[in-house]
Symmetry: C2
DNA sequence: GTTAGCACTTTAGGAAAGAGAGTGCTAACA
DNA sequence: TGTTAGCACTCTCTTTCCTAAAGTGCTAAC
C-alpha cells in the first residue's frame, strides 16, 4: 500500500487531481487540468496518465464521457501525501486558543467549546467523546448528608469532582458522614475508579470487615457507583453542527443526508465510531475503510487528545470523502498540541475556577 | 375569529377536507371526497362549497386545476374543532407512563426521557425546556471543602440539588465550612434563588455585617451564584429527533429542511420559541401565527407542565402544518396530566433515589 | 514518449405532445 | 332555491425526441 508503483509524474497528477476535486466537487477532466495550467503536458498525454491511474485503482469514471473522481485508494494516497503538510485556518484557530487560555473553564466544558469551535472552523459536524471515568485516580471520597434519607457522594479526581446520590435506609448525622468519607478515602485513595469497582466485586466481604462500623455505608456506595458509571458514560458524548453536512453538494438529496443525520443523533453509535485505541494522534478513515454501509461516502477524521499520555477525549470530524483534508488535519493537530502542552495539565489540576465533571 | 359565518355543512366539509389532507398530504379534491364517501353530496355541489370556503380564506388552490390545501385559517378551524377530541396512541403513551411511575428517576432525567418518548410516539422533533431555577425555594445551603482552595456549594431545593464550585483565597477547614453553611442556610432558607440574588444585590452591606465571621464566604458565594445561574440556564434545553422531520414529504428538499434543522440545533433560539407565559396548558401555533419567516410552513405544539401551579417545564413539538394534531394533542395532554397528578410532587419531593439537577 | 485530430459515447436540457386530473360554469332538474 | 350532470378549459406531469456540450479513447503523425 505504498504507492511505489507510481511514477513521480503520476503522483503529481494524482495529487493535483484529488486536490482539484476536493475544491470544486466536479469530476476531474484532462481539459480542465490543462486550462488551469497545472501541468505543461497536453490534454492527450494527461488522458493517457489518467487512464493509467484509473487502471491502477486510484480514480474511477462515473460514465464513459464524464470525468473521473478519486476512489478510496486515491483519497488515501492524497491523505498520506499531505500528512505532514497541513494547512491551518489561523484566524479560526486563534479563537480556540483563547478558549484554552481561559483558565476558568472546566474540562468537560472545555471539550464542548472545542467541539463547537472546531465545527465552526472546519464547517463540518464535530463529535467529542470524553474518556471514561474508569481510569481516573481517586483523590478523596466525601459523603454529605442531605434531607430525607439521602446523601451525596463526592469523589475527587485529578480531573474534577464526580458526584452521585446515595439512598439510605435512615437519615444519618453530619459527623458520621464525615467519618465514613474518611474511612472510604483511606481505603480507596490512589486507586482508580475502575480498580475500586473491581475491588468491591472481588473482595466484598473482606472490605466490609475492614470498614468496621461504616460497612453499612459501603452497600450504598456500591449501589451509587453503578449509577455513577452509567451517568458519566451517557453524558460523555457531545456533537455539534450536524446540519453543516447539508452545505455539501453530496447531500443535496434528503435520502442521502437522512441516514447520516440520524447517525449523528445517536450518541451511542457516535461513541463507538469515535472511540478506538489507535496510537496515532490524528487519523483519517475514508469510505469503505470505515466498514459501515451508511458511511461508505464519508470520511471521519479523528484526533485522540492525551494528557500525560492518557487518552482523555477523542474528537471526530465527519464529512464527505471530498472533505478539506489539509484544513481539518491542521485544526486537529492544533487541538492535540494544545492538550499536549504541559501547562494545560496544571490548569486542569489546580484550576482556579472549579473543574467539575458535569 | 369564531368561524360563525360557516354553515354546519361547510364546517363538516372543511373538517373532513383538512383531516384528509393531514392524512394523505395530497391536495383536497371534490372527486376524492366523493369517492371516499365522506359525503352524500355530488362532486359538483362539493365544488361549490369548496369554492366558497376558498373565498372565505379557509382553503387555497395551488394552481387552477389542482386541488386545494388548507390555509393557516383552515388549520386553525380544524385545531379549534378537535381541541377536546384528541386521539391518544395508547401503546406509546403507556411507555411514557411507566417512566413516570419509575420513582427512582430525577426530574431533569425525567424530562429528557419524556422528550425522547414523545418524539418516538409522535414521530416529530420534540423540545423540552426546563423552567429557570429563579423560583426554586432554598431549603438549605451546604459548603464542602475540596482540595487546593476550592469548595463546593450545594443548594438543596424541593426539586433537587444545585451545585457549583467556590473559588477561595486560602484553604478552609471542614468545620468552618459546616458552620458557614449553617449561617447561610439560616439567612436564606425559605427564600427563592431569585430572592437570594436580589437580596445580595440590594442589601449587600447589611448581609455582610449579619453574617459576621463568615462574611468572607459570602463574597465567594456571590461569585458562585452567578456561575450557577448561567450553568443551569444553558443546560435547560433538550431536543430530540430532529431528523424525524425529514420523513415528511414537505421536507424532501434540502433547502427547506436545512433552515429548520439549523434552528433545532440552536438551543437559545429553541428556548425562546418554547418558553412563553401562556395560561393554556396546550397550545398550537400554526404557520404565520409563529411570526417567524423560517417557520411559516410549520406548526409548533406546546405544553406547559406545572407542578403546584408553577411552570416547571415546557414541551414543544415541531412539525409541518400538516401534522397529526389529534395525536399530538393527545400525547401532550397525557403528559400535562401526569405532571398534574398530586403524587408526582410527592415523588419529586421525597424521591427515594436522589432527585438531582444535573 | 508526446501530441493533434477525430470518432464515439454519454449527459444535460429544452421543446413538443399527450394523458390525466380537476375546476368553473351553464343549464336543467326537483 | 338548492342540487346536479355535463362539458369546456386549464394546468401539471410524464414521456419522447432532439441537440448541444463535454469528455474520452484511439490512431496516426511528430
Amino acid at each position: 500500500m505504498s504507492d511505489i508503483d507510481l511514477s513521480d509524474r503520476k503522483k503529481q497528477i494524482l495529487y493535483q487531481a484529488v486536490e482539484d476535486y476536493i475544491e470544486n466537487a466536479s469530476p476531474i477532466t484532462s481539459g480542465a487540468m490543462v486550462q488551469k495550467s497545472e501541468t505543461t503536458l497536453s490534454s492527450a498525454t494527461l488522458r493517457n496518465e489518467l487512464n493509467a491511474l484509473e487502471q491502477m485503482g486510484y480514480l474511477k469514471q462515473l460514465h464513459t464521457s464524464g470525468g473521473r473522481v478519486p476512489t478510496t485508494k486515491g483519497y488515501r494516497f492524497f491523505v498520506n501525501t499531505i500528512k505532514d503538510n497541513c494547512r491551518a485556518d489561523l484566524d479560526g484557530l486563534m479563537k480556540i486558543k483563547s478558549v484554552f487560555e481561559q483558565r476558568t473553564i472546566n474540562l468537560s466544558e472545555l471539550i464542548k467549546v472545542v467541539a463547537e469551535k472546531i465545527s465552526e472552523v472546519t464547517d463540518y459536524p464535530t463529535i467529542v467523546s470524553l474518556g471514561g471515568i474508569d481510569k481516573l485516580e481517586i483523590l478523596s471520597i466525601k459523603i454529605i448528608p442531605l434531607m430525607t434519607n439521602q446523601a451525596l457522594m463526592l469523589i475527587q479526581t485529578p480531573r474534577g469532582l464526580l458526584n452521585n446520590t446515595l439512598e439510605l435506609e435512615q437519615s444519618v448525622d453530619e459527623q458520621s458522614c464525615i467519618d465514613a468519607g474518611r474511612v472510604l478515602t483511606n481505603k480507596f485513595a490512589k486507586m482508580t475508579i475502575g480498580e475500586m469497582v473491581d475491588n468491591i466485586v472481588t473482595k466484598h466481604q473482606e472490605i466490609i470487615q475492614e470498614l468496621n462500623e461504616y460497612a453499612g455505608f459501603f452497600e450504598y456506595v456500591l449501589q451509587s457507583l453503578v449509577g455513577l458509571t452509567k451517568k458519566y458514560a451517557q453524558n460523555g458524548v457531545y456533537s455539534k453542527g450536524a446540519t453543516k453536512l447539508l452545505k455539501n453538494p453530496e447531500y443535496q438529496n434528503v435520502e442521502q443526508a437522512k441516514e447520516i443525520l440520524q447517525l449523528l443523533e445517536d450518541k451511542e453509535e457516535l461513541k463507538n465510531l469515535i472511540d478506538d485505541d489507535s496510537d496515532d494522534e490524528i487519523e483519517f478513515s475514508i469510505g469503505d475503510e470505515l466498514c459501515d454501509e451508511r458511511l461508505s461516502d464519508c470520511t471521519i477524521a479523528k484526533a485522540h487528545c492525551k494528557i500525560n499520555g492518557e487518552n482523555i477525549a477523542s474528537v471526530g470530524i465527519i464529512g464527505p470523502k471530498r472533505m478539506d483534508y489539509a484544513k481539518i488535519s491542521g485544526a486537529l493537530k492544533f487541538i492535540v498540541d494544545e492538550f499536549n502542552k504541559p501547562d494545560l495539565l496544571e490548569t486542569s489540576k489546580n484550576n482556579k475556577k472549579g473543574d467539575q465533571y458535569d
